[in-house]
């Protein structure tokens, strides 16, 4: 049992009762915030899982095609073919507010929209497997950025949930019990003082 180091006066009692009421209201609000953050976090985590599995599958597939292309072409030819990228990407980074957490949003714009205009090499000495690998990676770009958005959001939300959870716990297990104990102590002290005064008369 812990209580605050205060003078057992009526004024203090009134002030502590007000603080307790505020703490109880704050506790309820923070609990609601934590629950909502949790709900949003779980939604993001679920979508993140699906997207990560999809992206990993696509990257593994692209890597396999690259490996096959690498076996059909000399290393020097493969490196040279990819030396001067053709496709350009503009990335606009914004933010979105979820329960007072600023999470990043990515908006990608490619230099060319044509699926055929992304290859940086001639077709005579290069393997068709390289086209497949690059096409897969190109299609994966949007998903990869979405995944980065989700993963960062999940990290930020998790950190905010942790902070809110600490606040809720601090209120629930420390501040509110302290206020209640102190109020009880002041009330008892005041009752005793009143009793003593009455017996003195």
């Amino acid at each position: 049992m812990a209580q605050l180091n205060v003078n057992p006066t009526r004024m203090e009692l009134t002030r502590l009762k007000k603080s307790l009421s505020t703490a109880l209201r704050g506790h309820k609000l923070l609990k609601d915030k934590r629950d909502e953050l949790m709900r949003q976090f779980l939604d993001i985590v679920r979508e993140n899982k699906v997207l990560r599995e999809k992206v990993e599958k696509q990257i593994a597939e692209a890597n396999q095609y690259f490996a096959v292309a690498g076996s059909l072409m000399k290393r020097e030819v493969l490196s040279s073919a990819l030396l001067m990228p053709k496709q350009g990407v503009d990335l606009n980074v914004g933010t979105k507010n979820i329960m007072s957490v600023d999470i990043p949003t990515f908006n990608v714009k490619t230099k060319t929209n044509s699926k055929n205009d992304i290859f940086s090499y001639g077709y005579v000495n290069t393997s068709g497997d390289m086209d497949t690998a690059i096409s897969i990676l190109s299609e994966t770009l949007d998903d990869m950025l979405k995944l980065a958005e989700y993963e960062k959001s999940a990290q930020l939300l998790a950190s905010e949930i942790e902070k809110t959870r600490r606040r809720v716990n601090a209120l629930e297990y420390v501040m509110i019990p302290n206020y209640e104990d102190t109020i009880r102590y002041i009330s008892m002290s005041l009752t005793k003082a009143k009793e003593a005064t009455r017996q003195g008369y």
């Binding site: 890597n63 396999q64 490996a67 096959v68 690498g70 076996s71 059909l72 000399k74 290393r75 020097e76 030819v77 490196s79 040279s80 073919a81 030396l83 001067m84 053709k86 044509s114 699926k115 055929n116 205009d117 290859f119 940086s120 090499y121 001639g122 077709y123 005579v124 000495n125 393997s127 068709g128 497997d129 086209d131």
Partner: protein, 322 residues
């Protein structure tokens, strides 16, 4: 040059042919546990005999080709048109150095050797925008490619231009040599290159397709040009109309099957050289055959390193020269 002038060189090449990898050796490589085991098998077969033994598999393959090339150069009489095979490396080096200069990156580990033009000379020519010191066969192409890359800043356009320039040059050289084997080989290569270009250019602009397709005295790509603007099926039909129905059939399976067909078709032609005992053809055949052998080994090694399923590796293995 007279065919009899190559007698010693051909005899020497025939002895080297006996040391080439057989189908059994390829099976042994395929069944090897990992890249290290493959390396041991290759060393047993004479690969990397000029090296210390600590080299990577890729270095062993590169050195093997350079070794064979040096031997061929030493035994061939002066004036043999061996350089024809090296032009490809020079054109690759030119492309690489041009792109590396624009991107400001180091190109030294992307250079193919042996080559005729010194890569440092190519770099100096690009830096100083002065191409007159380059070998004559690449001078004008280098000048034009430099203009292209500095105006459009597009690596693909430069590659397309240089690939086309290379095959046009080889075609001219083959016609000058008046060697039927060489002329047929160039015809086959340009036709196959154009098939690949047409298939992979579907959906690209008319101008790109026109600029990319290789036109030589022996091969007219007009039908492919029209077909590439229509769609993949039209290109496949067009390939059949050039008399390559088996190529069209392989395309029905997959593009990889088609690429395998392309290499095997070239190998079929190269194998004809084995039957000749005089002339330049057996030497050319051996050198190209060796390059294909190295490619086959590279496919297997890469498969082992990257844990590619053996079925996928087997699907991509090409026919051997021996």
């Amino acid at each position: 040059m007279k065919d009899t002038e190559y007698t010693y060189a051909v005899a020497y090449m025939k002895t080297l042919e006996n040391k080439m990898l057989s189908q059994n050796d390829i099976e042994t490589l395929l069944s090897a546990e990992n890249e290290e085991s493959c390396k041991k098998i290759l060393i047993e077969k004479g690969y990397g005999s000029n090296l210390s033994g600590n080299e990577t598999a890729d270095e062993i393959l590169t050195s093997e080709f350079e070794k064979i090339w040096t031997e061929a150069k030493n035994v061939c009489p002066d004036g043999a048109p061996l350089d024809l095979l090296l032009y490809q490396n020079d054109f690759h080096n030119l492309k690489t150095i041009l792109k590396a200069s624009v991107m400001n990156v180091d190109w030294h580990d992307m250079i193919l050797k042996p080559c005729i033009a010194d890569p440092e000379d190519i770099e100096n020519a690009i830096k100083n925008v002065f191409f007159d010191d380059l070998p004559q066969f690449i001078r004008e192409q280098a000048k034009e490619a430099y203009k292209l890359i500095t105006s459009v800043n597009d690596g693909q356009i430069v590659e397309v231009y240089l690939d086309k320039a290379y095959w046009e040059l080889i075609s001219q050289k083959a016609n000058t040599e008046k060697n039927d084997f060489l002329i047929e080989w160039v015809y086959l290569n340009t036709a196959i290159a154009d098939f690949k270009i047409a298939l992979r250019s579907v959906g690209k602009s008319k101008e790109f397709i026109k600029d990319a397709l290789i036109r030589t005295d022996n091969f007219n790509p007009d039908k492919l040009y029209q077909a590439a603007q229509t769609g993949t099926q039209a290109v496949i039909d067009s390939i059949s109309s050039y008399g390559f129905t088996d190529a069209a059939d392989s395309l029905k399976i997959s593009f990889s099957a088609f690429e395998k067909w392309c290499d095997n078709k070239k190998m079929q032609h190269i194998k004809k050289a084995k039957l000749k005992s005089f002339g330049f053809e057996p030497i050319l055949g051996f050198l190209i055959g060796k390059e294909y052998e190295l490619q086959t080994v590279r496919i297997i090694l890469s498969g082992k390193v990257n844990h590619i399923p053996i079925q996928i590796i087997k699907e991509r293995l090409r026919d051997l020269y021996v």
